[in-house]
């Protein structure tokens, strides 16, 4: 299950998000790291320093692209100029799979630069799946869609978020980037059982996982990516790993970023749960 068609049949282990404050350390010291996830949009440029850094990273590390602007859930076809830039980057990085979010965020060519939750309707699922297929066919690379954290729900929804995610990925025949922190954040904001979510998604489609920290406010939880991973999220990760198998996992830390070593050490805590999942599998096979 870990190496599947949705992650290009790779077994990448535990990776980190490539972030500016770590550039100098990574380029100078070449620390051990199984892989880096890059934000595609930061490198969809024509030249200069970003591409120089990327090329230096590509010489040493495996890189996977993660996008924030494809807006599979927005109405209308994807922008062809954007797609061409993305495809050029795909060729440069040779990313084995590419991820973006199950959300909307642009209307008639205007961009919110946010990951907005969708109404969970069948019509939206059909339209979104079509768009994912279109993008995949254009880019010629497997796609995993990520569940977003959210702070609002719509009356128009006809199903739960996990039913919607399942409907979309089955129709698009694509993978899932399962963000267990986002599931936890949304579960607290909307009042559902996060374990039910984890158990319901099609596990064979999970090509990658995200873990991250969040911030609790009085009335809601915000997905801030500025903390270590909290215990409830590790519990969800453990269960997801048990159900999906050992899957490429990425720690997101985007604000108040500590040293590379500190972020890496936090990510490697996932090994504990991976080992437990492996041990459980061995025990299961013996029985």
């Amino acid at each position: 299950m870990p190496a599947n068609q949705h992650n290009g049949y790779t077994e990448y282990g535990i990776g980190l998000g490539l972030r500016v404050p770590h550039y100098r350390h990574i380029l100078a010291n070449k620390p051990t790291c199984a892989w880096f996830e890059i934000i595609s949009e930061n490198f969809m440029v024509d030249g200069g320093r970003p591409l120089e850094v990327l090329d230096a990273i590509l010489e040493q590390y495996q890189v996977v692209q993660h996008g924030v602007s494809m807006y599979f859930g927005s109405a209308g076809k994807p922008d062809r100029t954007q797609l061409r830039r993305l495809k050029n980057l795909v060729k440069r990085t040779k990313t084995p799979w590419l991820s973006d979010h199950l959300c909307w965020g642009s209307v008639d060519g205007s961009y919110s630069h946010d990951l907005l939750p969708m109404p969970y309707t069948r019509e939206a699922a059909i339209r979104t799946a079509e768009k994912i297929r279109y993008v995949r066919d254009f880019l010629e690379v497997p796609i995993c869609v990520e569940n977003v954290s959210s702070y609002m729900e719509f009356h128009a929804s006809e199903m739960t978020e996990w039913e919607f995610l399942t409907e979309v990925v089955e129709r698009a025949d694509c993978g899932i980037l399962l963000d267990v922190n986002n599931i936890y954040v949304s579960s607290r904001n909307h009042g559902f059982d996060p374990m039910k979510y984890i158990e319901a998604v099609p596990h064979h489609r999970v090509g990658q996982m995200h873990i991250a920290g969040h911030t609790k406010f009085e009335k809601y939880i915000l997905d801030t990516h500025d903390h270590p991973v909290l215990d409830p999220v590790w519990k969800l990760y453990a269960r997801a790993t048990e159900l999906c198998g050992v899957t490429a996992t990425l720690l997101e830390w985007d604000d108040k970023i500590p040293s590379f070593d500190e972020v890496h050490a936090e990510a490697l805590k996932a090994n504990q749960f991976i080992d437990e999942a492996r041990a459980a599998t061995v025990q299961h096979d013996r029985n």
């Binding site: 500016v20 320093r49 907005l116 009335k219 809601y220």
Partner: protein, 283 residues
């Protein structure tokens, strides 16, 4: 819903209480959005409304730190908010958010008083840094490409990432004084914040004689370089597609230098510009 999320915030960074038709926003939003155990529908939308504005305002502040220091918070934030309300992002990347800022502010002298001219110089200067940071480059012109070509027919292009600015204010000195540690822009739009010490720099920005500033990059690091007026004219003429002979004539049309001196100057400039990689063949 998109209009509700991208609508300018009201006082106190709250969602506007009135909907577009003058009715209650809370009531209008409640028709679309469910309440949670702790939040009313309008409060849930407000989270997104705030995040939208905080994100794009912050992006502009990162891209135009010199303008922010020059104007101060009281003038900068309302100006940027008006710009963004009139010019919502039309690009998948925040990098392009300020691309129409110069055009916008030239129409808003009242908002920028008494800093209008200085602010216009600063915006052009800071936008040119974004272009120099990640703009496209083309293969440099080689000596072999120049050898034996009739200067009367030779047309030379400039690197697309190179900007040649004319300013009345020493914005380059001002911005350098604002840099905390001399580190230049790290990553346009998604940039790490640069700490600014506005008070130290304010005294530097006084209107002076016309300045010509090249904003460029060498080994992917940003640099600014002041140019002699004739050099700026020559580069602009080349960019406009004039032949080398025509561009030189334009450059020295008002010069008192004699021909041998002009020839020596041109040779010196081209030697430098070639080393800096500014020149490339026309497409």
């Amino acid at each position: 819903m998109y209009a509700a999320i991208t609508r300018p915030l009201a006082r106190g960074d709250r969602t506007q209480r009135r909907w577009f038709d003058g009715s209650s926003t809370a009531r209008a939003v409640a028709k679309l959005v469910k309440p949670s155990r702790t939040l009313r529908p309008v409060e849930r939308v407000e989270i997104y409304n705030r995040m939208y504005w905080f994100r794009i305002l912050d992006s502009m502040a990162q891209d135009f730190p010199g303008l922010k220091a020059l104007l101060g918070d009281e003038k900068f934030w309302p100006l940027v908010e008006r710009y963004l309300a009139a010019n919502p992002s039309r690009s998948f990347t925040l990098r392009d958010l300020g691309s129409r800022f110069e055009k916008f502010i030239t129409r808003e002298p009242k908002l920028l008083a008494p800093y209008f001219e200085a602010a216009c110089d600063m915006v052009r200067f800071e936008w040119s840094q974004i272009v120099a940071f990640d703009g496209p480059s083309r293969p440099r012109l080689t000596k072999r490409q120049l050898a034996g070509v009739d200067p009367g027919k030779l047309r030379i292009a400039l690197q697309p990432y190179l900007s040649i600015l004319t300013c009345r204010y020493p914005v380059d000195e001002y911005v350098l004084a604002l840099k905390h540690d001399g580190a230049l822009r790290a990553e346009a739009s998604n940039a790490v914040a640069e700490r600014v010490e506005a008070k130290q720099a304010v005294g530097l920005l006084e209107r002076g004689s016309v300045l010509h500033i090249a904003v460029h990059r060498v080994d992917n690091q940003l640099y600014y370089k002041r140019l002699e007026p004739e050099a700026a004219r020559l580069l602009r003429a080349l960019r406009a597609g004039r032949t080398l002979v025509e561009a030189c004539a334009v450059a020295f049309s008002r010069s008192k230098k004699d021909e041998p001196e002009q020839a020596e100057t041109i040779q010196r400039w081209f030697s430098l510009w070639t080393r800096l990689g500014w020149l490339c063949a026309q497409e």
